[in-house]
């Protein structure tokens, strides 16, 4: 238990130490590359902004991710249960996923002018639903017939089979996808925050750092983003432990 917490902390300290050393050895000034020791002052100076913007970024990401879970699961169920829907939707989904989402920013900001919150949530959603849809779809379509038959032979309805067998059986795959989606959703949120004029959130803070040539601020934003990403990731792991902990086999 001790080493489980100590190991990552030591790894982070070593990482920061190497970074500091790199900047110091090269004699890089602040406008080229900030060093870890510049970060605490930057955080302190803008502490209120960080809290406010961090919260903006976090809630939009979580809402976008939440939408992605719902829509992704529904799409996954459709392609998992119906062959025809699978054949019809897969090319569309893959095509949509292949579009670099940055190119969609001007499209949605024109469609929904001034709706900054909405646009940000929408982008977080669009960038993150795909892994969920695919994993649920594959999980459902590859369910072994025998699993279905143990309940079907008793005359159970399709809905019962879904709730009692198909859904729990896909949970490990679902959470695997959710971990990927959680980080993707952050990218979506920040993309819109950075690109939009008059944006809010950590992305906007990053941009203001850039405009003002405040390099320590920019790096501090990156660290804050990384921190939020880690928090969200571990929140997913926590949920996974609760709902799909059975899939985690202990080494025997």
């Amino acid at each position: 238990m001790f080493s489980k917490i100590a190991t990552p902390i030591i790894a982070i300290i070593v990482f920061l130490g190497l970074w500091e050393l790199l900047v110091w050895a090269n004699g890089w000034p602040n406008f080229k590359m900030a060093s870890p020791s510049d970060l605490p002052p930057a955080f302190w100076k803008y502490r209120e902004l960080f809290l406010e913007m961090g919260w903006q970024t976090l809630w939009r990401t979580v809402v976008g991710l939440f939408l992605a879970v719902i829509v992704g699961t529904v799409i996954g169920m459709i392609i998992g249960f119906s062959r025809i829907a699978r054949d019809a939707l897969y090319p569309l989904l893959i095509g949509f996923n292949a579009i670099p989402k940055a190119t969609l920013v001007p499209v949605i900001s024109l469609l929904f002018i001034g709706q900054h919150d909405f646009n940000t949530v929408l982008m977080a959603f669009m960038i993150s639903f795909f892994p969920i849809a695919v994993s649920v779809g594959i999980g459902l379509s590859t369910l072994e017939p025998e699993y279905r038959d143990i309940l079907r032979a008793l005359g159970a309805s399709k809905a019962t089979i879904f709730w009692k067998i198909a859904l729990p059986k896909t949970l490990p795959e679902f959470f695997g996808a959710l971990k990927v989606s959680a980080t993707l959703a952050f990218i979506g949120t920040n993309l819109v925050e950075i690109v939009s004029p008059h944006g809010r959130g950590l992305g906007a803070l990053f941009k203001s750092g850039e405009t003002n040539g405040d390099y320590p601020l920019m790096f501090a934003v990156l660290i804050a983003l990384a921190f939020l990403g880690i928090v969200l990731y571990y929140a997913v792991i926590f949920l996974e432990r609760i709902f799909a902990g059975w899939a985690d086999r202990e080494a025997t």
């Binding site: 025998e146 038959d149 032979a153 005359g155 059975w246």
Partner: protein, 233 residues
């Protein structure tokens, strides 16, 4: 083919002849293109909850404990049965197959033979009239398999049910069956029926008697015929 109520029919036949298909027809999971299946004077048109099924894989649900796995059919067949009664019923069966003490373990913590025992409990928990088994002991090692034959025999002595057992093990068919039905190659026909007149409370020793040896010999030849091979005498 006919299986009288309360008796045990062992079905053997060449690989791919349609044995699994037969179990799915009897269970009502498939409807026949031709012919009919009757259970207790009623034509089988779809699944019915008086049937129990067991497969070669134990197909236990990893996220449930052994006890909850065994209870599963009761949740469908007897949704209003109190939890306490369900547990009592499941424990009764787990005790018969020697799994007391494992009821709160996950399937992954059990050996293959134990999982198959739990699977048998699950197929019997709702007291089905008919138990349909598709090679349930096929993936087990020889000793575990013989253990489970005896468990099967004891289960049937404790709670009578009609049984259809698909198997590729002739000794298993003779030890467990009241009759052994040999199917021909695809499309399967009933090629040969053997009545096994061995005592009901037979022990494994019975397989070493000359009588059993003769029966096994006859069955062996019938399988060869079903496979379309020469019988060498």
């Amino acid at each position: 083919m006919t299986v009288p109520e309360g008796t045990f029919a062992a079905v053997v036949g060449p690989s791919g002849c349609g044995k699994s298909t037969l179990t799915r027809l009897v269970a009502g999971l498939m409807t026949p293109d031709e012919g009919e299946v009757w259970l207790h004077g009623e034509r089988v048109k779809g699944p019915r909850n008086t049937v129990g099924m067991a497969f070669q894989n134990p197909v236990l649900l990893e996220w449930r404990t052994i006890l909850d796995n065994v209870i599963l059919p009761l949740e469908i067949v007897a949704p209003r049965m109190p939890r306490k009664d369900r547990e009592a019923r499941a424990m009764e069966l787990l005790e018969m197959v020697g799994l007391v003490g494992f009821e709160n373990k996950r399937p992954s913590e059990l050996s293959g033979g134990m999982r198959q025992r739990a699977s048998l409990c699950r197929s019997l928990v709702h007291k089905p009239d008919v138990l349909i088994m598709d090679e349930p002991f096929g993936a087990l090692d020889a000793f575990t398999r013989e253990d489970l034959w005896q468990t099967m025999r004891d289960l049937r002595a404790a709670e009578p049910f009609t049984a259809v057992l698909i198997t590729h093990d002739l000794r298993e068919s003779v030890f467990l069956g009241d009759q052994v039905i040999v199917l021909s190659g695809r499309p399967a026909r009933t090629q040969y029926v053997m009545d096994v007149d061995l005592p009901a409370d037979r022990t494994l020793d019975v397989l070493f008697t000359p009588k059993a040896a003769d029966m096994l010999h006859v069955l062996r030849d019938q399988i060869k015929i079903a496979q379309g091979r020469e019988v060498d005498h």
